[in-house]
């Protein structure tokens, strides 16, 4: 009942309203002369220094859903859920140089989205449209999932009623506020709020990882309790270590997720908003601090096992909502006021990525659908306006997903999203290095990768939950005819087929001398930096006052 959680509710509401006020004030923070430009509303003036970028991108990549779902996965399956740690380690060295090239070429040409780059590089509006649609489709369920994060917290506080409307009213209010200040302040709102969000999360987690083991008898007994739980279950795949059959899945999932992360439009938005190449490179060294945080948060799942947490019932009768594990752990182990702070951290943690994702999706729509197909001569002010409205529509869509559909649907879609966004790798990531691929071949590769990825995901069943299709991303290799119980991450297989098709067709189309368009970029574009005379103007403001980053 909500009365038992009154302290938590008051602290949660207070902090939530505080950041909402910050969100509205953000429009005046580092204020531009003219907000009616997509560079200002959608990229914060491309002027963020090291610290702001660190908070912004960190708050963007490590979402509330991650912080709730990863420990839930560890709680349920054990070691396999820890893939999030290698995933967020290998990603930064991998994109260290790639993102700098993307930043440079985008600044020279004023690109706002990855599809802008593809349009120019491969001279193909169709390929750009496919990239844009892929990005929007992959981002939408991700936004909806942020709501799942907030909902887990609200459910634990008992403020969600039984009827459909009462259950969702708090979320609708939260998102309406979020939509309003994102509309007004653009990317500056999440950038400012990210400071509060991340500070809260760091404090909460540092306290938790020292205090909880002390209360629960030390780390050794926490892992032993988890080990005992997994040994007692009949499921073969769980345990505090990997077994012979899920190691390939673990590694390919970590690697494939890392490949996918910076193809997501919201990640690219955060990167393009930075001031120069040095900011990006230093952030690649500094962002792993969040990976440490994520690793410790993941272990909250084991602490919940040791503390004997029982997850709340899910939407369907007989099911449990694993996402409530972490909120319940805090509720049970901490004084009310501290649990309230922790809940606020998760709740606000959902707002930052949700705002950035909706901005990224809106930018894709504006630049690659509206300007390309609906109104070719749109002025920068019109672009900014369309983007603002599109960001509202995106958020209404995300709320509708959660209110009217089973949340499981959004989780399935997000799983699919990771696989489909990977299919933009040949055009976007490899395109930054080479124009060897033929534009037609890239389109064909995209189609092949998408088709195969969907088919494979459809085949994945989970006998424990009784789901027959889309029950995960671990594809059993025996379905390809191999005599083995091993599984592999769907995305990796799909993108390899995508690449193979693109490469083969490139050879064919080149041999047949099919027209291949004109490359709109020059090799020099990929090294331009702040201060370069040909860099798009608009980067110099009062940005020099920003403090330097930690690394």
């Amino acid at each position: 009942m909500w009365r038992d959680h009154l302290t938590e509710i008051i602290i949660f509401t207070f902090l939530f309203l505080l950041v909402s006020a910050m969100g509205f004030v953000a429009a005046r923070w580092r204020a531009p002369r003219d907000m009616a430009h997509l560079d200002e509303w959608g990229l914060g003036g491309r002027s963020f220094g090291g610290w702001i970028t660190w908070f912004l991108v960190g708050g963007d990549l490590y979402t509330a859903y991650t912080f709730v779902a990863v420990p839930a996965l560890i709680f349920g399956a054990g070691a396999a859920g820890f893939f999030a740690v290698p995933y967020t380690i290998v990603i930064y060295p991998m994109v260290f140089l790639v993102l700098c090239r993307l930043w440079s070429v985008s600044h020279r040409h004023g690109f706002v989205t990855p599809a802008d780059f593809v349009r120019n590089r491969f001279d193909s509006p169709i390929l750009a449209l496919l990239i844009a649609i892929t990005g929007i489709v992959a981002t939408m369920p991700y936004i909806a999932l942020q709501l799942v994060g907030i909902e887990a917290v609200l459910k634990t506080m008992g403020v969600t009623g039984d009827s459909a409307l009462a259950r969702h009213l708090p979320i609708i209010i939260a998102f309406a506020i979020l939509a309003a200040y994102t509309y007004q302040s653009g990317l500056r709102a999440p950038a400012l709020i990210a400071f509060v969000k991340d500070s809260l999360i760091y404090i909460v987690i540092l306290v938790a990882v020292f205090y909880l083991p002390y209360k629960l008898g030390g780390w050794g007994s926490i892992f032993d309790a988890a080990d005992a739980k997994f040994k007692a279950t009949p499921a073969p795949g769980d345990g505090i270590l990997l077994n012979a059959n899920n190691q390939l899945q673990y590694v390919t999932l970590a690697f494939g997720s890392a490949l996918a992360l910076f193809l997501y439009p919201h990640s690219i938005t955060g990167v393009l908003a930075s001031r120069n190449r040095g900011v990006i490179k230093r952030n690649m060294s500094a962002l792993p601090a969040y990976s440490l945080l994520l690793g410790l948060i993941a272990l909250l799942g084991y602490m919940a096992i040791a503390a004997g947490v029982k997850p709340l019932p899910g939407a369907k009768a007989g099911s449990v909502d694993g996402n409530t594990v972490v909120p319940l752990l805090f509720d049970k182990q901490f004084p009310d006021w501290f649990a309230g702070v922790a809940y606020a951290a998760i709740g606000i943690g959902a707002l930052v990525p949700a705002a950035i994702m909706s901005i990224a999706a809106a930018n894709l729509f504006t630049r690659n659908i509206y300007k390309e197909y609906l109104k070719r001569d749109a002025t920068p002010a019109q672009e900014a306006n369309v983007s603002k409205i599109a960001s509202l529509v995106v958020k209404v869509g995300a709320v509708a997903c959660i209110v009217f559909l089973d949340p499981q649907f959004s989780i399935d879609l997000q799983l699919i999203g990771g696989v489909i966004i990977l299919q933009t790798l040949p055009a976007v990531a490899l395109g930054l290095y080479t124009r060897w691929f033929h534009r037609g071949a890239l389109i064909a590769g995209w189609v092949a990768g998408m088709g195969l990825g969907m088919w494979m995901l459809y085949q994945v069943a989970n006998p424990t939950t009784g789901k027959k299709h889309f029950a995960g991303s671990a594809f059993p290799l025996e379905k390809f005819g191999f005599d083995t119980p091993k599984t592999i991450y769907v995305g990796i297989v799909a993108v390899l087929v995508n690449l193979a098709v693109a490469a083969l067709l490139t050879l064919v189309l080149r041999a047949a001398k099919v027209a291949d368009g004109v490359d709109g970029t020059t090799p020099d574009d990929y090294f331009a930096d702040e201060g370069d005379p040909r860099v798009t103007p608009g980067a110099t403001r009062d940005a020099d006052s920003a403090p330097e980053p930690v690394a």
Partner: protein
Amino acid sequence: MAAPEPEAPTTARSRAKDHSPWNWLLFIPIVVPLIPAFFNADSPRLFGFPRFYWLQLAWIILGVATTTLVYQMTKKRGGDR
């Protein structure tokens, strides 16, 4: 998002500002954390953490050290703040 090839195959020839042998070091923190044989065991435990957990968390330091080293060694003198 592919491996960070220091040789940009077609574009780097004119002004290879990204080209440096130091960049090859970036492969270490990409490959090492993806080899389960290193970390998939319980012993030795450290502060109660099985090796699986403490070693993977330790790879974070490997990643930070490598990217910081490469950044420091490849940044342009005076510029590239």
